[in-house]
Symmetry: C2
Subunit: 451 residues, 2 copies
């Protein structure tokens, strides 16, 4: 029995690093062999490319496929580049069909042909069914290894039928009940099979209130369904209600994590499939689009200030005070946009309740502007002995916080409305708006009132 | 059979809003009754308090408990405030022990006493076992409704024993095998029970390579274990390897989502348990600590500029150019800190590989500084016809990007090292550093070289 406490990944990682540095590779090999594929994947992602290759060589060939499935895209591509056709072919062996489909798009054409040639007719057809669907749809997540029964047979017959098999597919919690045309009628929980009278028929016991998903449903909706209804597996059907396959909870856990990960990373303009230890050049290639956008927007903000250089020359205090207006607006805007992006991802916002949210965020902006902006106004007055400057400070802060609320709510909603990802670069965009807006409002007001 | 596609939560939410506005409440009631508790919870979170109360009244009393479990902390507290003791008592009925324990801490003392009085001895002891443990530990997540068998009995006996029960606990995929002292020996998958020869004994078939978790293990580690090993349920043991309960995948899905959610929200200085439609005052109370910190840091940045007002008076171009140095540094720092915070949460960083990461981020900062900083330097030269100003711009950008890389890597690592949450307010902190640092570096250099 292994206790997860003794083998926390972080401790193990530290030990492995030491072992790698000291060159006691036998020790590393033993540790790697004791790890599960997903844990090896996390380890590989945590290593620099040179060390990664050493550890990857040590992985049991039987685990290669599972490890490839668990590492992120960029690391996966790197590992695959270092393998020859035979190693890749071996790695695909023993994988479930849905996992194999995942890997398929990253393997060289020649290897894929070999894989298909080595499969029996039924598996080949199953794989092709899964490959026909988008990877981020129910069809791309599903497995076709369902166990089906007819409604008119008795439990006794079902039990005898099962006992003829050697094993059931992983995470089988239900048998699916279909008619002779393959149309899904219901499901029979395995636990019911165990506790019920064997003389009853499947039709009498089956659950017909199923949360079946359509084959084209987006993966994130499927994940939400699993979370909402605490499912272990769910049937996948076509428009004619015919059973095509099933999705299990292990496929969905990855979708949930990847989706949340994607929000965090893409808000800052990052790609979640990036290798943590990519080279400097690779990393720059990933990040440059948002840096370029950031540069352009920063230049615009700078030109806005440039237009008011005359005012700054006459009252240099403006130069010291203007970044406060911009900076506090930026942080407030970041809070609002984060709230909205996340609420959109969790399905808590629609066009219907957006107005109420906007009203609330504008209210918060107003009160914060009056309160904290007032405090800053008093500080500016005390520092520079200029009451009017203090008043301009307070008004500018309030206006920029209103702008932050407005932009923070409407940018992600508009992007969502037009089918774009609301998270993408949202942090860069909101800062651009509150910077440019803050400088313009503050310097413009000051020029009108003070100079 | 219900198809999730026909009833996407967002569509339903829009319809409900219309129905609420038009006052066709019968229609709303029918829709609410057709929804699952978790879906009702999402709906309630999406409504303003006044509407929320109307819909909450319509929820079937049998679903009250499940709905309360699924809404976030602040919304839950609001709903509970509006319920009397009897309604609360009814809501607790039929809940699983681990869920009841979750709710217990939010219910009034008097109701809890009533609940305990209404339970039988066994359930009361089970509840107390769960309540003894931290909510975010394995003990707080576990359920005590395990089905156990002895290793020396035959499958036939087990099958007969199960058939005497009316049902098995939800998500039962394995029976746990224990000795006479309650020590966990292994697990027998239910699917094995169905496909194996009934004459074999449990001991011959059981899986002894279990991923058992210690009762004090942190919930996030348990979630990672479920993800890594694709588990449906796992046994919880004490230091003497005695079986205390089991954790199921539905409990863990919430942990995964909450954890990622927490990262996104707390980076911006937000609280993920906040009610989306809290009043302006409530919202301000939640957000004010980070606004206050932000105000203080912005004031420091402003005073740094204040110290260089003499230079700005002599060369006003400095005022226009300085926010570019600060802003681009802020965005770059945000990218680095996001990367590190997320990698820490996913267990990809330890002290062991942190140096390599720092080196990479510093490399990216250097190249970006030279490349984009160079471009900005040329722009500054072109705009103000001052070569030295262009050079100062390029050098300041490069230095500020190095500062951003250094702070972006070391702040979260240091917080993690000292047992603090690395995500908390990280976005506010990094901006403070790159603002103050950017102004100081740029104005300091300019004062030395130009003025």
């Amino acid at each position: 029995m292994s206790d997860s406490q003794d083998t926390a990944p972080s401790t193990r990682l530290g030990e492995l690093r030491r072992a790698l540095e000291e060159g006691t590779l036998r020790h590393v090999r033993r540790q790697v062999h004791a790890m599960h594929p997903a844990e090896i994947a996390t380890l590989l992602e945590s290593l620099r490319p040179a060390e990664r290759e050493i550890v990857w060589e040590m992985v049991d060939a039987d685990d290669d496929g599972e490890v490839l499935l668990h590492v992120n895209d960029e690391v996966r591509a790197g590992l695959i580049r270092g393998m020859d056709a035979e190693e890749l072919l071996n790695a695909t062996e023993g994988l479930e069909i849905d996992d194999l489909a995942d890997l398929f798009q990253d393997l060289p054409e020649a290897v894929n042909r070999q894989v298909l040639k080595g499969m029996d007719q039924q598996d080949r057809e199953r794989l092709q069914t899964v490959l026909e669907h988008e990877p981020d749809s129910a069809g791309g997540l599903m497995n076709t290894d369902t166990v089906t029964v007819r409604p008119d047979v008795s439990l006794e017959v079902v039990l005898r039928f099962l006992r003829m098999r050697e094993d059931l597919p992983p995470n089988t919690d239900s048998l699916f009940v279909v008619d002779r045309y393959g149309k899904l009628l219901g499901a029979l929980a395995i636990t019911k099979l165990l506790v019920s009278d064997a003389g009853l028929t499947v039709g009498e016991l089956m659950d017909t209130e199923l949360a079946a998903v359509h084959v084209d449903a987006p993966a994130v909706d499927v994940a939400k369904l699993f979370q909402d209804r605490d499912l272990v597996s769910t049937p996948v059907i076509d428009a004619q209600q015919r059973l095509l396959g099933r999705i299990t909870v292990d496929d969905v856990g990855d979708v949930i994590r990847d989706e949340a990960d994607h929000t965090v990373m893409s808000m800052a303009g990052l790609d979640e499939s990036e290798d943590l230890f990519a080279s400097v050049w690779q990393t720059m290639r990933h990040r440059w689009p948002w840096i370029a956008i950031n540069l352009a927007t920063a230049f615009v903000a700078s030109r806005v200030i440039g237009a008011f250089e005359g005012s700054i020359e006459r009252l240099v205090a403006l130069a010291s005070l203007m970044p406060m207006v911009a900076g506090i607006g930026g942080n407030a805007g970041n809070q609002t946009i984060t709230l909205i992006v996340r609420a959109l991802a969790l399905g808590r916002i629609t066009a219907a309740n957006a107005r109420a949210l906007l009203a609330k965020e504008i209210g918060v902006g107003l009160v914060n502007g009056a309160l904290w902006g007032g405090l800053l106004g008093v500080l500016a007055w005390a520092l520079y002995g200029n009451v009017a400057l203090g008043v301009v400070m307070t008004v500018a802060m309030t206006l920029n916080l209103l702008l932050a609320a407005l932009a923070g709510v409407s940018i992600p909603l508009a992007r969502h409305h037009f089918g774009k990802d609301p998270a993408q670069g949202s942090s860069v965009l909101i800062t651009a708006i509150t910077d440019t807006g803050g400088f313009f409002i503050f310097l413009g007001l000051a020029t009108l009132v003070l100079v």
